[in-house]
């Protein structure tokens, strides 16, 4: 096929795909020349990209606010802690994803038949409940407070997180364009109508919720060796629920890239500022959270859409003028 024709027919795909490919290649080679600081920073950012994107996949389209990411993420961390002596790292990642999937399936089946605020509070309660129960069980069964994780070198952790990120984003991309994606969007648009048009809303919600949990669990498995030591408070910290939510809202949930942008911005800020300012950072986090929800409910992506609309309207106005003048 002629090269120029190929480029013109697939223009849009190349415009988006080529830069992404370049970024991917760049990221893959970072461990060869980047310092430890950058590798660890990028690992954290990728972790947040996974969490934010998978959160937005369910909560963004259906409108059901889930505070459960921390529950599945923590599950992944503890899966690593418990299986690290018995299975190779890649297998544990898959197992962690699977365990989270099953957990989410169960939780979804018992709670997603009802709606709204109720679901949000339940998922929130789930996180703290799991934290407390894990802590107690640890003390009683394992006679320990917290788990030590055998360290894995930074490059391996980075690559693992990179692979999971790519898998997550690809999965979300294709689901969005699938029937499942359309049914999720319909539920978010009007759940009653969606049900009356033939969509099994309960099955859709539970399935999507469970799928999103896979990636969160996998990310948890990979993060455990980076932290070296975990306990219930660390693993099930509610911050792992709020950060993805804040990142998605900031970035804008209407577009695919929204949560990714939010994750990059806040992931960078968190890693660089938290160490220095700890308490004040969390205070600032709270303030930013309030500001974003108040002033930027549609996020950056929302602003971009609004701008695009305005430009389109101006163009239409110009055309209309031209027509009127001829």
């Amino acid at each position: 096929m002629d090269i120029t024709r190929f480029i013109s027919t697939h223009r849009k795909l190349l415009l988006v795909g080529l830069p992404l490919l370049i970024i991917l290649v760049f990221l893959t080679t970072i461990p060869l020349y980047g310092g430890v600081y950058w590798i660890r920073l990028l690992t954290v950012i990728l972790m947040y990209v996974v969490l934010a994107a998978s959160w937005a996949m369910f909560s963004g389209s259906t409108g059901y606010m889930s505070l459960a990411p921390a529950a599945f993420f923590g599950t992944g961390m503890y899966t690593m802690a418990l299986l690290q002596d018995y299975l190779p790292f890649p297998v544990i990642i898959v197992v962690g994803g699977l365990v989270s999937f099953i957990l989410a399936l169960l939780v979804g089946l018992i709670t997603l038949r009802l709606r709204g605020m109720y679901f949000a509070i339940f998922t929130f309660g789930l996180v703290v409940f799991m934290s407390e129960v894990t802590s107690y069980a640890e003390g009683v069964i394992l006679k320990s407070r917290g788990q030590h994780i055998i360290p894995i070198d930074n490059a391996t952790i980075f690559y693992a997180m990179l692979i999971i990120t790519v898998v997550t984003l690809l999965a979300i991309y294709f689901i969005r364009r699938s029937r499942l994606g359309l049914s999720m969007l319909s539920i978010g648009g009007n759940e009653d109508a969606a049900e009356h048009m033939g969509i099994d809303t309960t099955r859709t919600k539970v399935l999507t919720f469970a799928i999103s949990a896979i990636f969160m669990g996998a990310a948890g498995v990979i993060t455990a060796p980076r932290l070296i030591y975990i306990n219930a408070d660390i693993a099930f910290s509610l911050t792992y629920s709020f950060m993805p939510i804040l990142m998605s809202i900031f970035g804008g949930m209407g577009q695919f890239y929204g949560p990714i942008v939010g994750a990059i911005v806040f992931g960078y800020l968190e890693k660089t500022l938290r160490a220095q300012f700890s308490t004040y950072f969390m205070l600032g986090f709270g303030i930013i959270m309030v500001m974003v929800i108040l002033f930027l409910p549609n996020g950056i992506a929302g602003l971009v859409s609004m701008l695009q609309d305005k430009i389109a309207k101006l163009r239409k106005g110009d055309e209309a003028e031209q027509h009127a003048n001829t």
Binding site: R179, L182, S183, L185, S186, G188, G189, N190, D192, A193, A194, E195, H196, M197, G198, I199, D200, T201
Partner: protein, 245 residues
């Protein structure tokens, strides 16, 4: 053939009977209307038929099959579609996608993408919205939003269509157009069961009308019979006197 049949249909909310022991039937190919003052139980009856609410007692059968206990998505696939009083369109999508949802999910079998897209085009053509398929529905006028709802229901390939106050909020021209569209729907082979307050529409196109009041069926007959029915007149005159005529 009786396409829809209800016997002793009753629905309680707490101690109050919203629908009380209603018997009704609809024959294939009919356009049947349901009238009654606000709160008479009309939308509740629709909700019972479409599966949005469970019956307290009684039975509803569609083509001989009992509908009791089925969920709305199952009832849709069986062949009953509906529109809603408060236009429940998918505000986050353009017109085309709204109708696409109906095309994809409304059939019991898996519909391939091409067939679905064709269904959508045909449905949009039928309601007259073919030119607006890319417009976000929230930017549409009320009458066009209602058209989207009809197209979406049409795309589910129903045999029975429940229309809940389709004409509410429309001006006289729009009402005439809507009346024409409903007749064309019936001519396509779809049985229509419609709730309306707009008398011109009900009297104009319905072959049979039933009247509800306080959850009970108080009258049934042709539009002529209903127009002369003393009970119906009393109920409505009473309503009008209440509302200041």
């Amino acid at each position: 053939m009786r396409i829809l049949e209800g016997q002793g249909v009753t629905k309680y909310f707490g101690g109050l009977a919203a629908v009380s022991n209603v018997d009704f039937h609809i024959d294939q190919g009919e356009i049947v209307g349901m009238i009654g003052p606000n709160g008479a139980g009309k939308t509740t009856l629709f909700n019972l038929i479409s599966g949005a609410l469970p019956l307290s007692s009684g039975e509803i059968r569609f083509k001989g099959q009992k509908l009791n206990g089925l969920k709305p998505h199952q009832i849709c696939k069986v062949g009953i579609a509906r529109t809603f009083q408060e236009t429940k369109i998918f505000g986050n999508m353009p017109v085309f996608q709204n109708v696409l949802v109906g095309a994809f999910f409304g059939s019991p079998n898996r519909v391939p993408g091409e067939d679905a897209a064709r269904e959508v085009s045909q449905a949009l053509e039928f309601v007259g919205l073919a030119a607006m398929s890319a417009t976000p529905v929230k930017d549409l006028t009320l009458v066009n939003q209602k058209r989207v709802e009809v197209a979406r229901a049409l795309a589910t390939k129903p045999e029975l269509l429940l229309l809940d106050e389709l004409m509410a909020g429309l001006n006289p021209t729009e009402i005439s157009e809507a009346m024409e569209m409903v007749t064309k729907l019936r001519d396509k082979g779809i049985t229509i069961f419609m709730v309306e307050h707009v008398m011109k529409a009900i009297m104009g196109i319905c072959e049979r009308i039933m009247a509800l009041h306080h959850g009970e069926k108080i009258a049934e007959g042709t539009s002529q019979e209903i127009a002369c029915n003393k009970t119906v007149i009393d109920v409505y005159l009473g309503e009008e006197a209440h509302a200041g005529g």
